[in-house]
């Protein structure tokens, strides 16, 4: 494949993906509307358009099974929007299934393995069965007595004509709304007018007029169907400068089409344009699609610049103490400041580009909830908030699996069966809430259910059975410790192997996935009231802020997003419990670990730890430990580089970075260090 071909294919795939996501959102809206007894023709039409676009696109790129699938779906959706068949739950299920199938084909086309041609054929067969159930096409009604301009009728698409008939059939009045828009701002102006019209009726079509009094304006007639009086429609568009006319009926005693509101368009609609009136013909689409790897590359360069900057800082530090170069030092400081500011702007600019809203994942989750809840025979209400919270694209991608498992757990184990809920005085439908919000450089995602809560006794039993905790230990565990047992392998896995959550996928996998993203996961639960999982994630992994520390004469960097706090302590603060160093932090016992012991760095017997030292509290998933270090050097942005082969297998080291002055320093793998400290409490003694 040529480069251009590859690029075009990538463009196709990403556009297809966007369309499929939009299609999915339309289906969710339809599902919601159906449950509430509403039917929004606009949404069906959007779904139709989505599939229609997929068909055209996939045809161009020779993805035949996608073309076939969309062709058949298009027919079904066309029948739906033209009112030939009704939207029932079975039909909706089929449509949701199509989303999964589309995604599969996209995956295959992107280079994944597998061929879903057979699946598509089976699916089309089932589609046909639904489509053939269609009701006979109803007798076309005349125009209900309306005197409609043939030139208006000639530009209606089949669908628009159908909507016109539906509005007439429903006994609504038809209005023509005449508005003039500045050419430059027509999109915005029309959007405003549309949102005013939406509450009063349905926009059936737009008719641009070629004859305009003014070169800079476009005049437009909007045909509206509404069960409202002309006064009400007028009130709705008040202030927009639009004029409303009722479309006359033949039978009615010649209702004169009368302009009611005559006002010039408000001056705000006018926009500055250049003197010649020569407007740019460039596309107004303001977005470009970019391969994320290109952004990674840019980010790497920013990282290199940050290192260079640190180098300059070091030079400045050296120069500023030298009196002979006082002037030079001041100039250098000035430039360095300006450089730093621009570098920060550039970095946050690139980061911003990488951000995508979490809504992308949440949409997928809604689909899963729908399927699982039905399979499990439980009614679930999904409440989503904060879908516009943004995270690095790569993190969002990695989040869907763990979140999916969490939701499955909520439905399978959290939410009780309807009869059990009713008996407990709860509403029959269970509620799962997913929310996201940004807090500083982190995003906190909360998943909570109003189910039965965690069974603490059962959790402890299982952990003991599995030999993860001994009986004596289990007696001393705090509630928090007990809840955290669900993150140990084998504890959360249900005995009964059911289709969804029984494949040996437990919360331990969720924890591992979250930890891989440098995230922290916490669980709280109240018996009978529900369970809440809180996932805290860094906004990006592309460039990280690091805390630079010194221990045993070496410098290390650790990702700041794993660092919860750092404290200055004295030796008296450290106690030893079961040969293990711990300290008390706000009433809780915090296990301590020493870098020099973890990495067997000799401090020498004769040089004991200094009396005053620092503890950096780090967290991974639900665990927290304190790392003892000698000195906190400062914070710095770093780009982690992979290690050479010699060090690659050393646990506890994530990679290397340059901190300026061309010295390579090690970046700690906090996850591995915490794992090690927690898994084998006595291991820190091993190398001492």
């Amino acid at each position: 494949v040529s480069d251009g071909g590859e690029k075009a294919l990538q463009e196709f795939l990403s556009e297809a993906q966007e369309i499929i996501e939009a299609f999915n959102r339309d289906l969710l809206a339809l599902d919601e509307g159906r449950a509430a007894g509403r039917f929004d023709p606009e949404v069906i039409n959007e779904a139709f358009r989505a599939v229609h676009s997929l068909k055209g696109l996939s045809g161009l790129f020779g993805v035949t099974r996608m073309t076939n699938l969309s062709h058949n779906l298009e027919n079904l959706l066309d029948s739906l929007r033209l009112g030939r068949i009704e939207l029932g739950p079975d039909t909706l299920d089929l449509l949701f299934e199509a989303v999964a199938l589309f995604n599969r084909i996209v995956g295959e086309t992107a280079g994944g393995s597998g061929d879903s041609t057979g699946l598509v054929e089976d699916f089309i067969e089932r589609l046909d069965r639904v489509a053939t159930k269609r009701a006979e096409v109803k007798e076309e009604l005349p125009w209900g007595g309306f005197e409609l301009d043939p030139s208006m009728l000639s530009v209606l698409t089949e669908y628009e004509e159908h909507r016109l008939r539906e509005n007439i059939k429903a006994g609504r009045a038809l209005y023509r709304i005449h508005a003039a828009f500045e050419l430059m701002t027509i999109d915005k102006g029309l959007d405003q007018l549309k949102s005013k019209l939406k509450p009063v009726g349905e926009v059936i079509t737009y008719l641009p007029s070629a004859e305009s009094a003014n070169e800079q304006q476009i005049e437009l007639d909007i045909v509206l169907g509404a069960a409202k009086s002309i006064e009400e429609v007028n009130a709705a568009v008040a202030g927009s400068g639009a004029r409303v006319f009722a479309l006359p009926k033949k039978a009615a005693a010649a209702v004169e089409a009368m302009p009611v509101v005559i006002a010039p368009p408000p001056p705000t609609l006018k926009m500055a344009r250049d003197d010649e009136g020569e407007l740019s013909l460039k596309s107004v689409a303001q977005t470009v699609r970019v391969d994320i790897r290109k952004l990674d590359h840019l980010m790497n360069i920013v990282g290199e610049l940050a290192i260079a900057k640190a180098g300059f800082s070091a030079i400045y530090d050296a120069v500023k103490t030298d009196r002979a170069h006082k002037k030079l030092a001041r100039a250098l400081q000035h430039e360095l400041k300006a450089f730093t500011r621009r570098l920060d702007e550039m970095q946050s600019g690139i980061l911003e580009v990488r951000m995508v809203p979490l809504g992308q994942v949440f949409d997928k989750l809604s689909r899963v909830v729908r399927k699982i809840s039905r399979d499990a025979g439980k009614e679930i209400r999904l409440v989503i908030s904060g879908a516009d919270t943004e995270l690095d694209k790569l993190i969002v991608e990695e989040l869907s699996d763990p979140l999916m498992h969490v939701i499955r757990n909520c439905i399978d184990h959290g939410i009780e069966r309807p009869e059990v809920r009713l008996k407990a005085g709860k509403p029959e439908a269970g509620t799962i809430g997913i929310s996201a919000e940004q807090r500083g450089n982190h995003v906190v995602i909360t998943v909570e259910d109003d189910g039965a809560g965690l069974d603490e006794k059962r959790l402890v039993e299982r952990a003991v059975e599995r030999g993860l905790v001994d009986v004596a230990q289990s007696g001393e565990m705090s509630r928090r410790d007990i809840f955290n047992l669900i993150f140990l392998p084998g504890v959360s896995t249900k005995e009964v192997v059911d289709e969804m959550s029984g494949r040996g996928v437990g919360m331990d996998v969720v924890k591992t996935n979250i930890a891989r993203l440098s995230g922290i996961i916490d669980v709280e639960s109240e018996p009978g009231q529900g369970t809440r999982l809180t996932i805290t994630l860094p906004i990006t992994l592309a460039i990280i802020q690091a805390l630079v520390v010194r221990a045993a004469g070496r410098t290390f960097a650790m990702p700041l997003n794993s660092v919860l706090e750092s404290l200055r302590i004295t030796r008296q603060d450290i106690a030893t419990v079961e040969r293990r160093e711990v300290m008390t932090l706000r009433g809780q016992t915090l296990p301590l670990a020493r870098l020099e012991r973890l990495f067997a760095l000799g401090r020498g017997e004769e040089a004991p730890a200094p009396p005053r030292q620092f503890v950096v509290v780090v967290g991974l998933a639900q665990h927290r430990i304190g790392l003892c270090v000698d000195e906190l050097v400062g914070q710095q942005d770093i780009v982690i580089k992979p290690l050479g082969r010699a060090l690659a297998s050393v646990p506890g080291i994530a990679g290397a970075t340059e901190l300026g002055g061309k010295k390579t320093e090690l970046v700690l793998d906090v996850a591995a260090i915490v794992e090690e400290a927690v898994a084998a409490p006595a291991s820190s003694e091993r190398v001492a």
């Binding site: 251009g4 075009a8 463009e11 196709f12 556009e15 358009r49 229609h52 676009s53 068909k55 055209g56 696109l57 996939s58 045809g59 161009l60 073309t67 062709h71 298009e74 027919n75 066309d78 030139s151 000639s154 530009v155 209606l156 698409t157 089949e158 628009e160 050419l183 430059m184 027509i186 999109d187 029309l190 079509t205 737009y206 008719l207 641009p208 007029s209 070629a210 004859e211 070169e215 476009i218 009136g277 020569e278 407007l279 013909l281 596309s283 107004v284 689409a285």
Partner: protein
Amino acid sequence: MARMPGDRVRVLVVEDSAAMRSFVTAALEQGGPFDVTTCGSGFEALRALPRAHFDLIITDINMPDINGLELVKFVRESERHRQTPLVLISTDSRAADRERGMKLGADAYLVKPFEPQQLLDIVSGVVKR
């Protein structure tokens, strides 16, 4: 209007799918002396049409808000482009809409999906006319 040999053909492509736009643009630019201007919506086209001359207009029918049919009517009623060749693009299932477009004064239509050569054949047909 008489076209001189060697003239470049100014084409306006109206299509709401970015990938489709790229495809048509690439097919034209690689296939002949075409200068392509693209619009992502009917509105953009309304904006572009009165202030520049085009030798050919290619538009998708199924677009949100201003659809391709409305655009055909607009073009045919406009002072500047009432004679300009106009090609419609649609999918095979939308035969009814296509017929309406031809009635409104479109010169030819193309059914998606199509090969670059099909597009060029149709285009050279209507531009010579």
